[in-house]
């Protein structure tokens, strides 16, 4: 939440100037596009007749309907309590997207037939590759952050070279380097371990910087207090500094996890049967690309929502000590 000001203010969306302004803007914007040829035109057929021949009148009517619906919607939602507002807006946006997807004329039986395999093979692979990579990346990140903050030149040099290299190279290139490059020096590696290694190293580099900034955000006095009690470096780090740094680290780390989930599709280039790979191949035979791609997209989204929920739960856990 932002800082809540204690001065009561009226609901913005119920002010006449705001509604009129919004109406005018929406009207002007939608009038600029000719929507008579879209499915909206079809919906308005009873009023405007054949959309293609309705001309300026049709265009005007469609725009008017859109603007009125939108403004009415906003005004009505303005009356609801916060939680209802969130729920209503979420479902409206979701419905809009579903309506958008229905325009593809997707074959639902085909999706239903392929979905189990997409989940058991594709999604399962995606999740376990990401999960293992996330754990390794976090471990690398803590080590990297400590090394980058240390006064040991050797440790600093390795850590800064590592972050520079792995943040600087495209992830795709890293996947190739590990899968195709390592055998050059006589170390043959399977596709899945290679993918996990590439993802861990790449995200470890990004997360090193996140962890470093988190550790640095902790007041120097905390180190002094901890060391003056007699705690060593390890205890200070694990029990005093990291627990306080976590609330700072978690939101950007949550970002990284979600981003990794989707970047794990890059390991399909070395033949790992993860979600994106299957989505592309399964649809190919019968040219039903969109079905599979949209299914995969939805699966990615569902898992991301799961991660978001976990993130907000952890954030709430760490907010305990901040309640006054």
């Amino acid at each position: 939440m932002l800082y809540p000001d204690t001065v009561e203010s009226d609901v913005l969306v119920h002010k006449p100037w705001f509604i009129t302004g919004l109406f005018a803007v929406v009207f002007a914007v939608f009038l600029a596009f000719d929507l008579t040829g879209t499915s909206l035109g079809d919906l308005m057929r009873p009023v405007i007749g054949d959309p293609a021949e309705s001309g300026v009148y049709g265009r005007f009517a469609i725009t008017f309907v859109i603007a009125v619906t939108l403004c009415l919607n906003i005004v009505l939602i303005g009356f609801a309590p916060l939680k209802v507002q969130v729920a209503v807006v979420w479902s409206e946006l979701l419905l809009l997207f579903l309506a958008f997807f229905t325009t593809f004329n997707l074959s639902l039986p085909f999706m239903a037939e392929k979905l189990p395999f997409l989940i058991t093979q594709g999604l399962f692979t995606t999740i376990y590759v990401s999960a293992i990579s996330i754990v390794i990346a976090s471990a690398i990140a803590i080590l990297g952050a400590v090394a980058k903050l240390s006064t040991n030149g050797f440790a600093y040099a390795i850590a800064s070279f590592y972050t520079s290299f792995f943040r600087g190279l495209p992830l795709l290139m890293q996947v190739y380097l590990i899968y195709l490059g390592l055998p050059q020096i006589g170390f043959v590696i399977d596709a899945v371990p290679a993918g996990i290694l590439a993802l861990s190293l790449c995200y470890g580099a990004y997360m090193t910087e996140i962890f470093r900034s988190g550790i640095q955000s902790i007041d120097r006095g905390q180190w002094e207090a901890s060391r003056s009690i007699g705690f060593g470096f390890g205890v200070t780090m694990r029990k005093i500094i990291l627990p306080q740094a976590l609330p700072v680290i978690i939101p950007p780390t949550g970002n990284q996890f979600i981003s990794m989930l989707k970047d794990s599709s890059l390991v399909s280039v070395i033949g790992v049967w993860e979600l994106m790979f299957l989505a592309r191949t399964l649809g190919q035979k019968s040219f039903q690309h969109m079905e599979m791609l949209i299914s995969a997209a939805m699966l990615y989204w569902i898992v991301s929502i799961g991660l978001e929920l976990i993130q907000s739960r952890i954030e709430r856990h760490y907010a305990r000590s901040k309640v006054r």
Partner: protein, 246 residues
């Protein structure tokens, strides 16, 4: 001289080219209460931060509880667990309750059981007169209460000497007295204390010795009665006239 707890011999310290401490000599006996005062930037905080090696000195020797502080020391932990320190900005651990703040030291350093650490913590919280705040988090406490928790946290380690680094400088006037009362009662019970503070009334009432520092040197020291009645050096007179004017 087994009763000497802190022995400082010819200590000098530099921050880069700037000399913060110049040939400081000081001994603190067991049970002694010492107040260090002086203008800001005179090196008083730096000096007491050298006693538990939060800062390193470059020249001379500091012996704390029989252990010589130097560069490559493994025993720094042994020194620190016997030296309590109270900071200007309290530095409580904000992610732990007041009780946990007091328990972690004994538990993680001395290996005391949780039940016993809890008992000790409550006992010392009682002594600083805030046992009822035990399960709150530090942000929920007033400044004075936080500082008293910080004192209790140090006491839980049962240190041989307590260092106070301007413990009341960040507090409201009203809260200063509650912290000073706690410190005074601690002094009455015979705790060895070294306090950097500007609270001259406290110095007068409690200190065995007042030390005046200026520009990294100990300019003058003496019993509080003499120190306040006839300061010897011009710089001391000036300082005292400034600080006692109000």
């Amino acid at each position: 001289m087994s009763d000497t707890i802190i022995d400082v011999r010819n200590v000098s310290k530099w921050y880069g080219a700037f000399r913060v401490l110049t040939d400081v000599n000081l001994t603190v006996q067991k049970g002694e209460r010492i107040v260090i005062c002086g203008p800001s930037g005179s090196g008083k905080s730096t000096l007491i931060r050298c006693f538990n090696r939060l800062e390193a000195h470059q020249q001379g020797d500091i012996v704390v509880n029989g252990i010589i502080l130097h560069d490559k020391m493994r025993e720094v932990g042994a020194v620190r667990k016997n030296v309590g320190m109270v900071f200007q900005h309290f530095n409580l651990f904000p992610h732990m309750t007041v009780l946990m703040n007091c328990m972690v030291g004994p538990m993680w350093i001395k290996g005391v059981s949780q039940a016993e650490a809890r008992k000790t913590a409550l006992q010392f919280l009682e002594r600083v007169r805030i046992p009822e705040q035990a399960n709150k988090y530090p942000v929920q406490l007033s400044g004075g209460q936080q500082q008293r928790v910080a004192i209790a946290r140090s006491l839980c380690m049962q240190p041989a000497v307590m260092l106070f680094d301007e413990p009341t400088s960040a507090l409201d006037p009203e809260m200063v007295s509650e912290v000073l009362e706690t410190m005074t009662s601690l002094a009455r019970e015979g705790m060895t204390m070294v306090c950097v503070t500007h609270e001259m009334a406290f110095a007068r009432a409690v200190a065995d010795r007042v030390i005046f520092m200026n520009a990294g040197q100990i300019v003058e020291q003496g019993k509080p009665e003499e120190f306040f009645k006839n300061p010897q050096h011009e710089r001391t007179k000036l300082f005292l006239s400034q600080i006692l004017k109000h």
